[in-house]
């Protein structure tokens, strides 16, 4: 399993994402100008401030050359994980439903939260237990998940809500406590909390490893996708 971690100008969690992925498989960096994803089995769009968050978080990054290749990769069923700013990028690109708004409290939040795994039938949660509580940090300014009510209803009906903040842990006013969602095909997953910052007990939790391990345990080699 080869993970590819995308580096945009302004990414800052790319190295942690690489280290997290490295615990479950092999991992290498991709540059935002790359358009060739051959040999990559899973893509990670990391956190940070791609293109300085100009205009809106993720709005400019979605037009970078690599994102065209990521959209094709996702359309072929390739697993794609968006973390924090990566989640914002995937929403802006239309690969995931919804949008991330400025935190309801208008403050940057940086703390450990408890997140519940609601769906284990996605590319990145197959190795988690249903209802498992993961201790993972959040650190963001614009992490309030939003979608119109009818879209939220459809997401819940389709089982596309993958992670919810545990009761009392919603740090940003996200609609219905949603911390992460997936695409209809269940191969694209995005979340605001940072699993790549929770990969070593030394830093308080290694619960985040399970996301990388899940996709590594159910490999879908690039060759098989054609």
């Amino acid at each position: 399993m080869m993970f590819g971690v995308i580096q945009f100008p302004g990414s800052c969690d790319d190295r942690d994402a690489l280290a997290g992925a490295d615990r479950a498989g092999d991992a290498r960096m991709l540059w935002h100008e790359d358009t060739d994803l051959s040999g990559i089995d899973a893509v990670v769009v990391p956190g940070g401030f791609s293109y300085g968050d100009y205009l809106r978080a993720g709005a400019i990054a979605r037009f970078s050359p690599v994102m065209g290749a990521v959209a094709e990769f996702a359309a072929d069923g390739g697993p794609v994980l968006g973390i924090c700013n990566g989640f914002q990028v995937l929403c802006e690109a239309g690969l995931l439903p919804g949008a991330l708004l400025p935190n309801a409290g208008l403050r940057f939040v940086c703390r450990q939260v408890e997140v519940e795994v609601e769906r284990t039938d996605t590319a990145f949660t197959g190795g988690c237990d249903q209802g498992a509580r993961l201790s993972i940090p959040v650190k963001h300014m614009s992490g309030r998940y939003f979608a119109p009510d009818e879209m939220l209803g459809a997401l819940e009906a389709n089982g596309q809500v993958v992670f919810r903040y545990a009761d009392g842990h919603n740090p940003n006013g996200s609609a219905r406590g949603i911390a992460g969602v997936c695409s209809e095909g269940r191969n694209v997953v995005g979340l605001m909390p940072h699993p790549e910052h929770a990969v070593d007990p030394m830093t308080g939790s290694d619960d985040g490893v399970s996301l990388f391990a899940s996709v590594a345990a159910t490999p879908e080699p690039a060759a098989a996708r054609g």
Partner: protein
Amino acid sequence: MKARVLIRPKQGILDPQGKAVERALPALGFEGVSHVRVGRLVELEADSPDDLGALCEKLLANPLIEDYEIQVEENQEPRDARRRSGARRGQ
């Protein structure tokens, strides 16, 4: 031609920046101000107004969370006149 695009959070979406501004006003002695919404203004020059709508839909605004309004400057020259025209529209 010159144009301005006004982008604001959709009605019904909590705008914490607007709320923060609204809460600050009474402390400064400004009473009776409510429903403050904070958006952004994009000024641009374009060869033609035809693509401005698509440009807003694809990049300047996220239609899921934001409304936008395109204002094409009517009086382009001279610069002083343009400024006055802009001020009138704002009132």
